[in-house]
Structures are given as C-alpha cells and as structure tokens.
C-alpha cells in the first residue's frame, strides 16, 4: 500500500482529465465506505468489550436491577482463578480440544492425501464429506442424542452389531467415562472435513516439479512423503489446527445439546460454565471477569501459536 491508487491515477492522468474526475474526493469516499462498518463494529463489538471489562470489576447482577453496584477491584478475578470448579471446566475443555484436534488432523490429513490421488469423481465425494460442517451444530447435536440412546439408538446398535456388547449396557452420554468421548466423536464427525479441505489446499499447492526432481534423485516414495509432502503441508495443517482450536475452545452449541455439561460436571466446558454463571445465576460481574480471562487465554495462546506458525512458514 506504499503507493495509493490516487497517486497512480494522478501520475498517469493528464491534468485536464483529472479535472473531470468529479464527485466526492477519494478520502471522503473511503470514509463513507468504511464508516458504517466501523460504526457497527464499535457499537456491537468494541463498546461491549470495554463495558465487559468495566463490569468485571463490579458485583453487578443483571437480574437484580435494584441492587447497588459496587466496584470490588480484582475480587472476581481472584475468585475465578481460585475456584477449583473453573479449573475442572478448563480441564474438560483441554481434553476436548486435544482429542478433537488429534483425530481431526489424523483423519483430515489422510482423507486429503487420498483425495489428492485424483481418482474419478473425487470432487463429488469431497462435497459429500463436507456436508456435516455446513449444518447447524445445535440441530445436529440434538439429533445425535437420539443416535446415542441406549437400546433404541443407532450408534449403540452399531457398536453392538460389531462387538456383541449388550446395547443397553453402556450409555455414551450418561456415563462419566464415555461422555467426554461421545462429544469428541460428534465434533470429529462434523469438523474433520474442515481440516481436510485446508490440507487439500496445501497438497495442491505443492508443484509437481518438486516430486519430479525427487524422482530423478531416486528418493523413495516414503522419503518423498516425509521430506516434501509433510513439510510443505505443515503450515496449512497448522492453520487448520489454529482455527479448529479457537472454535473448539469456544465450543458451546454442540455440547450443550449433547450432554448439557453432564453427567455431573464431566463435560462442563468453559463456555457452558460461563453460560451458567452469566445467564442462569446472573452473576454478571463475575462472569464478565471469566469472559475476559477466556478471551485473554485464547488471544494469548493464539498469538504464541501464530509466532510458531510464522517460523514454520519461514523455513
């Protein structure tokens, strides 16, 4: 952006033509075009964010309009960081985050690699694989609770069919051991295609001549895979992990529908905990502090990650 259009037009355009460029000045148009968006973002993104920061230092409760609001300093933050339940919900989030990313990267990359073999009709099948990620997580998640029903649910029946276990002997959503995995399964089903698409873009960005050169050097296919394919796709894969990581850190709709955080608090992830504090207990000040902590956490982790990503790209 070192040279603006204005400069270029001005340089190229003879003076008598320039006079004909009527209407608003470029500067005016620029602000006219950007203005509404900035205004919208200021009112619906930035201002609320500042307000949240402000609220996080108070004991405000949105359901108690008649109660005096007091500034209580960092007390909300102290309470949150010292609350073992919050740390448990962070653990649940971490478990979900790690395993969804693990499976999505593994399956997503494999699929992309297979699709890149360019078999006939690959684009149609790609589209079909992509379908789940286009759908409403709440609506689909709600239906998965039906698939997970003991006895009548299809999922349990299929497991029974392959393992011979009694379909009413295990409850995917109700058991403390299985519930964390039941949400990992659905999220993996929904979002593997996203990782797959990004990997596919990465694979397709590798020019053929690199492989041809390797072939001439008599490098084995396996060696080619580890010295060319993986390093070239890695930046793309890391991007996919970044996006899925941020999304799953915020995870709410799918898990709320599937387990609602239960059994007990086994799958109560950060967002669900936040929802309970903010919109069921109405501890607005407290939950604002929690929201800020979550935001800073995502932002911090993402920034560190992006630095790492840039290093990988530079290599």
């Amino acid at each position: 952006m070192s040279e603006t259009t204005v400069d270029r037009v001005a340089r190229k355009t003879p003076a008598r033509v320039a006079r004909k460029v009527k209407g608003l000045s470029d500067r005016a148009i620029a602000w006219l075009f950007v203005g509404p968006t900035i205004f919208l973002l200021l009112t619906i993104n930035i201002f609320p964010l500042i307000w949240t920061i402000n609220l996080s230092f108070t004991n405000f409760k949105a359901n108690r309009p008649n109660r005096a609001v007091e500034y209580i300093g960092l007390r909300n933050y102290e309470r949150i960081l010292g609350d073992s339940d919050i740390w448990l919900s962070m653990q649940a989030t971490a478990h979900f985050l790690f395993w969804t990313l693990f499976f999505q990267v593994l399956i997503g990359f494999t699929l992309a690699w297979l699709i890149n073999k360019k078999f006939k009709g690959n684009d149609l099948w790609t589209t079909i694989i992509v379908l789940p990620m286009m759908l409403s997580p709440a609506v689909v998640g709600n239906f998965w609770t039906f698939l997970y029903q003991p006895q009548i649910g299809l999922f349990n029946y299929v497991i029974t069919f392959f393992t011979g276990a009694d379909p009413s002997s295990f409850q995917m959503l109700g058991s403390v051991d299985l519930a964390p995995w039941s949400i990992v399964i659905v999220d993996t089903w929904m979002w593997t295609p996203f990782v797959m698409l990004i990997c596919l873009a990465g694979l397709r960005s590798i020019p053929d001549y690199i492989y041809e050169a390797a072939e001439i050097d008599r490098a084995s296919k396996l060696r080619q895979f580890f010295t060319i394919t993986i390093p070239m796709v890695l930046p793309f894969l890391m991007l996919a992990v970044l996006f899925r990581g941020i999304e799953n850190f915020k995870m709410f709709d799918l898990v709320v529908q599937l387990t609602g955080g239960g059994p007990g608090s086994t799958t109560e992830m950060a967002s669900i905990n936040l929802k309970r504090e903010a919109f069921e207990k109405w501890r607005t000040g407290y939950s604002s502090a929690f929201a800020i902590i979550l935001f800073v956490t995502v932002f911090g982790l993402a920034s560190i990650y992006v630095k790492a990503l840039n290093k990988v790209k530079e290599r």
């Binding site: 004991n59 949105a62 359901n63 108690r64 309009p65 008649n66 339940d85 029903q149 003991p150 006895q151 009413s168 002997s169 409850q171 959503l173 109700g174 058991s175 403390v176 609602g260 955080g261 239960g262 059994p263 007990g264 608090s265 086994t266 309970r276 919109f279 069921e280 207990k281 109405w282 501890r283």
Partner: protein, 439 residues
C-alpha cells in the same frame, strides 16, 4: 355507609370491565410450560375469549428450558408474555425485581379473597416475603411430586408370591421410603411377560431442576431442613444433618439399584415414557400428569394406581405448582387482570379441575365430590398437607444450580460421599447468601 361504598365500587368495576371489553379487544399471550395441563388451559380459555372478546395466544416452553427461557425473558424486560404461570420459586425474584405486578389492590377491587384458596398454595405461589399478605400471583395450579405404579402387576398372584418369598412382606403400596426401595429392587431386572422390567423411574435430570426435585422427595421425609431456624440462613447442621446424609445415600441407592439403564438424565418426559412403555413398575412424577396417565388407553385405567410420596421419619412431599402473574412489562395489563379475574371464578375453577388442571380453590378442593372425582384426588389432598418447597429467594436460580451440581456429581457421576456433597452445598449456599448480603 360501608355497604354503599362496596356497592358503588362494584358498579364502578362492572362499568370498568364492560368498558374495557367493549372498548378494545386485546391479543394476550400467556406463557407456561409445555405439558398436559397447558393443553387443558387452552381449551378452558376458549370460554374467556368468547366472553371477553380478547384473543388468547400461548407460548409453551418444555420444562427443561422453561425456567431458563422465561427468567431470561423477564430479566431482559421482554414483552412476549402478558400473563405468566411461573414456577413457585420465582416469586421472590419476580416481586423484588419488579417483574410481576403486585395484585393486592386488584384483589381488593375485585373482591377476590386469598382465603378462598388452599393456604399451602397461597403461601407458596402468591406471597412475598413469604407468608405476608403481599400477593404477586393467584394460585393457578396446585401440584406436588407423587408416585404411580402398575396396579395390574402388583395384583398378580405369581408376582405377589415371588415378592413374599424374596422379602417376607406383602406386596402393596409402599408405606415408607425404604419399602419403596425394597419393592423397586424386587422388580429390577425381573422378567414380566417375556420382557425385562425395572424398579422405578425417578428424576435425575442435570440441566434444570430435575434431580433436585427428585432428591427432595427423599430428603423431606427424612426430616431435611434448609435452616436451623427459619429466616436465619444458618444451614450448617441442617442441610448436612445426619438425616439428610442418610436420605441422599438412600436416593443414590435407589438410583443405582432400581432404575432402568441409561437413566442418567431424566425428568418428567422420561419418567412418563418409561412407565408408558411398560419398562418400570413404579415412577415418580408431578400430580399434574396423573389425569393424562389415568386416561392413557394402554397403561391407564385398571392398570394404574397412585400413591403419595411415602413417609420415613415424617411425611413430606416436594411442592410443584404455579401461580399466575401479570408481567409488569406487558402493555396489556388491564386485559391480563381481566383474565385472572375470570380464572378465579369458582365455576371456572371447577371446570379447570374437570379438564385436568389442579385447582387450588377451596370450593373445589373442599367439595364433597372432590375425593371421589379421580383415583388420585385423595392422594393429592394428602400430599398438599405436608408439602415443602425449595428456596424461593430472589437468588433461587443460583441456589438451585448449586444443588443440581452437587447432587448430580454425587448420585450420577459417583463423586465423593453424600456428606461431602452436602458440605459443599452448604459452602455454595453460604457464598450465595453472603453475596446477597443476608449473611
């Protein structure tokens, strides 16, 4: 003089009411939970529509989402509902935060007397602060948690003999909580007509209020108290008393030894499903569902009977039920009050009961025909004698969520001991009341 005043007042109100009916016909929205009685209310309200000229719309939300959505609606100052049949525990918040219109003046004006309604219901559904003559709702639907069972199974000779052999007792409606457990365990996993059946369907739901409403059915009969002295908020030794611990352990045993598989997150709907599909011998649920259960072509009639929540150390049932309130954000308060006036009429109340709604009006409950009018009517009166309700504090949601978590963690997720769960609950509740400035 006094009579004259009364007369002129009634003329005035008469004029006022005719004026408002002729002057404008409003579109009223009534919000309630989506369940059997709500459907009956739609039918009942058709009379109101034809009498008043107003149109009634209904917004019914399923129970698991009801509190969440309606409290959100009230807290956002929403105008969706003109009339709200809100849960008994909301009354504190509804009154203190100005969500509900105070009805005292209206009751005086229309000479609606709270003495005409069953005292337990007025206390629970209408008053805030508790027990004072400040009314924010008219008792709309009396309710308590009760039990129903497969009368046909209980009457079968082979099953009776097997029960006698297994336990040494006669099979019949349980007279204590422990007998209920024994019967439930007897049925658990038994083959009846070639089908495996289970003991009892109880409440274990996590998301809203389910497991709390279920477990209090055991806590109250054991003698559970919220406070050592009412109004003092001193909960240590009351909430986590040895009796409370025993009751909680009992509920966990009932859950883990006598409920159908996969029964980890179930409330009203699941209890009904389990019973109607012939899965369970007994089930707990609100009296509100009993008319529908009795009328069910497959499992109702001769095959079903009802009993009140059995006592243990004392009698006790968990209170349900709701009062009807006018939402203060509504722009149609006049017409909404008209609806309440119409609803409070003894004739309408009698009609309400006959259609499956539990009237709390004395003229209905005390009538000679009431007990004989349905097989569960007597049980209902019995239950209402010893009902207890959860906290009705403005901070009720926080108190409830804490209990949901602690109880579900212990009973379903199998974490810690009953004592630990209740100790933590005392801590949670203490923190809430400290935040409230009440401790």
């Amino acid at each position: 003089m006094k009579q004259l005043k009364l007369a002129s007042a009634s003329v005035l109100t008469l004029a006022a009411s005719t004026l408002s009916t002729t002057a404008l016909a409003d579109d009223l929205t009534l919000c309630w939970a989506a369940w059997d009685p709500a459907n009956a209310l739609v039918e009942l309200s058709k009379d109101f529509e034809s009498e008043s000229g107003h149109t009634m719309n209904f917004e019914f939300v399923p129970w698991p989402n009801f509190a969440d959505r309606m409290l959100n609606e009230l807290n956002s100052g929403g105008k969706l509902c003109d009339l709200l049949i809100g849960d008994s525990q909301w009354i504190g918040g509804g009154a203190e935060n100005g969500h509900y219109v105070k009805l005292n003046d209206f009751f005086d004006k229309e000479s609606i007397s709270m003495d005409d309604f069953a005292p337990a219901t007025v206390y629970a559904y209408s008053t805030w602060p508790k027990g004072t003559p400040n009314y924010y709702a008219l008792p709309a639907m009396g309710d308590a948690n009760g039990w129903f069972y497969r009368k046909d199974w209980f009457a079968r000779d082979d099953i009776k003999a097997a029960y006698k052999e297994a336990t040494g007792d006669e099979l019949g409606e349980p007279k204590s909580q422990k007998e209920l457990l024994q019967i439930a365990q007897f049925f658990q996993g038994r083959e009846i007509d070639g089908k495996t059946v289970y003991g009892a369907a109880i409440f274990t739901e996590r998301g809203s209020e389910g497991i709390t409403m279920g477990v209090t059915g055991a806590l109250y009969p054991w003698g559970f108290k919220y406070e050592n002295t009412p109004g003092s908020y001193d909960m240590e030794g009351a909430v986590n008393s040895p009796e409370a611990v025993e009751a909680l352990e009992f509920y966990k045993e009932l859950y883990s030894t006598a409920t159908p598989p996969g029964y980890t997150n179930s409330y009203m709907g699941e209890s009904l499903d389990a019973f109607k599909s012939g899965q369970v011998a007994m089930a707990m649920n609100w009296f509100a569902f009993f008319p529908g259960l009795y009328a069910d072509p497959d499992t109702g009639g001769d095959k079903i009977d009802f009993f009140v929540n059995p006592p243990q150390n004392q009698a006790g049932s968990t209170l349900g039920g709701q009062g009807i309130s006018v939402v203060s954000y509504s722009e149609k308060q006049e017409a909404s009050l008209e609806y309440i006036k119409w609803f409070s009429d003894p004739a309408v109340q009698a009609q309400w009961w006959s259609m499956g709604g539990y009237s709390a009006h004395n003229s209905v409950l005390n009538s000679d025909t009431f007990e004989a009018s349905a097989p569960f009517a007597g049980d209902f009166l019995l239950a209402m004698e010893d009902v207890q309700d959860f906290w009705q504090e403005p901070a009720y949601a926080e108190l409830l969520l804490a209990m949901q978590k602690r109880i579900h963690d212990y009973v379903v997720a199998d974490q810690g001991t009953a004592k630990e769960a209740l100790d933590k609950l005392v801590e949670d509740w203490t923190e809430v009341f400290e935040d409230e400035g009440k401790l």
